[in-house]
Symmetry: C2
Subunit: 343 residues, 2 copies
């Protein structure tokens, strides 16, 4: 567990689906300094089962998100074990009794952080990968006046039905472990998490990634080694209820459910005023490019650049230098784009 | 369990990976009549978790495989609960003690059926979907002199590494059920089979199939109804050890492991003399078109027609009339193709 971060406590944080966290704890880390006129802030929410450190590959003096120039705020997703989560919340909202948290709840907490706590009225850029992209789209819909630019990558404005099937398979697998005990486990359901990792493995990278043994670039010499050393290692220390809480959030992501949008996805996307550049990955199996290409058609001035290659969803993970450079280049280009007073 | 079939007993059937079934029982059904000069035989092996009835949608008087013209032999895959399987084999090879069976073992048993039992020396066509395609490629490599034409659909000559990851996720999920008891269950591990079905669901159809709610064409009105009424229903009556036995067979399919081929896939494919027409499905997530397109480049005269559409792997299942018509048309065209004395 990381301790190199700060916590904002949000007393009596009422959740969209019911329940109140007293308090909600929003963990975040900032990089760089806010300038005097507060016009250099970037918000970069985290992905499923990641934390603020997961985003650091895209922040640095050799990157577009140069902390000498920008003030980058990385809030941790609720449920990730650092912000309020089943694993770190006291009774009565601990473990299996942790309430359902939506993407909008995350955005609302982050809004308090950005405005009330940090005193920022406008974000030069909101960006994020995967569940970070879900949050990016929601920011652009809920707070169009605050978001100058949006760069969602390997994500979508709404979790698709197929993606729901994938999520459901993860949930079904993890909870099948008898040790899970309906979330009231004493010892972690490790066998369940291992099987969960195996299911995830097939979806995380493309068919060609495995076919070409591209995992060798990550230091693994056999497929079995990769399944254990990469995939199991990625999840085995996660708390099962935390994983399930994040899955719930992911599954129910939908900007069209934003109050005032009446379930109309085109209307929700049409309300975005941010300069939006979406970066789906060519071979992403659960956030396929079609989702963001279709979405961009309804966003005024919305643009898409498909990240080419065979890394699938993990294209957005930063481990492949070519993909990282592509994403960094897109961030640089978008930050150089004027916003015509919009946003 | 179907009883509308015949059984060929193969005494002392020694398996490639060790162990002997005494006897092996090969279940099969034939359609039509063998003509006098024995030149109208077609072999049509079955897919994972299917049986001879699973193939009947492609056989009929309104189909290219017209039983008034062709003698169609449908052998059941070992492990499918009709041919020798963990669920129907006596000790010492029952249940979890059933030996590993390869695709080549299946082909060898079918060869005995075709030649010694039915007296056929040449097959006008071998065809099959998915694991049926694995068998089709193996037939074309092992018995080039017997196979005039080969039409594998939604398959490959070798199970790819990514496909192995998918198979491994199914195995990990099913065996996670505490009721599985290392294969020595008394009551079936239904929770494991249900979770297995959920994992399978994401892979069986394409992202767009779910996105467009195409399951409505199969009579389901909600996603949840489809996951239970279609996917769970498809697997819930299957024996868990049978499923795992077939998964093992699938996982280890590889024509390059044929004796004499020295693990060289190009050499194995290059040895095929059948007129080969492969039909991968455009959006198949675990036998993607690339596999068969690449394979065809090494098969002399090998051709590929990609089946367009969003039904994914289940394109080959016969449930979508447009896909069924496409496949039937390809069978018709291939049967009309001369073989230049080859095969």
């Amino acid at each position: 567990m990381s301790t190199d971060h700060e916590i904002l406590e949000l007393p009596d944080f009422a959740l969209e689906q019911g329940g109140t966290l007293r308090p909600a704890r929003l963990a975040y880390k900032t990089y760089g300094r806010l300038n005097a006129d507060r016009t250099n802030a970037v918000l970069f929410p985290t992905w499923f089962a990641g934390d603020h450190r997961s985003n650091e590959w895209l922040i640095g003096e050799d990157r577009a998100l140069d902390p000498r120039k920008y003030f980058v705020i990385v809030p941790n997703l609720f449920g990730n074990g650092v912000s309020s989560s089943p694993s770190n919340t006291p009774a009565p909202h601990d473990a299996a009794d942790f309430p359902n948290v939506t993407i909008r709840d995350n955005v609302r907490a982050q809004h308090v952080l950005v405005t009330e706590h940090l005193g920022i009225e406008r974000l030069e850029l909101v960006l994020g990968c995967s569940m970070g992209a879900l949050q990016t789209y929601q920011w652009a819909v809920t707070h169009p006046e605050m978001v100058a630019r949006a760069l969602p990558f390997c994500g979508a404005p709404k979790t698709s039905p197929h993606n729901v099937v994938f999520i459901e398979s993860l949930r079904a697998t993890l909870t099948l472990d008898a040790a899970y005990r309906d979330g009231r486990y004493e010892a972690p359901p490790l066998a369940g998490i291992r099987a969960f990792s195996r299911v995830y493995a097939g979806w995380g990278f493309s068919q060609a990634f495995y076919g070409e043994e591209t995992y060798r670039q990550l230091g693994f010499t056999t497929l079995e080694e990769f399944l254990t050393g990469f995939w199991e290692a990625n999840f085995i220390d996660q708390d099962a209820n935390d994983l399930l809480a994040m899955l719930w959030t992911w599954r129910h992501a939908d900007v069209s459910a934003t109050p005032g949008m009446d379930g109309d996805i085109k209307r929700a996307l049409g309300s975005i005023t941010a300069e939006t550049l979406a970066l789906p990955a060519e071979k992403d199996l659960y956030f396929p490019p079609e989702d963001e290409i279709r979405a961009a058609q309804h966003i005024p001035g919305g643009r898409v650049r498909v990240i080419p290659g065979i890394w699938g969803h993990l294209t957005g993970g930063g481990a492949n230098p070519a993909d990282a450079a592509f994403i960094d280049g897109a961030v640089r280009d978008l930050l150089a784009t004027g916003t015509d007073g919009r946003g």
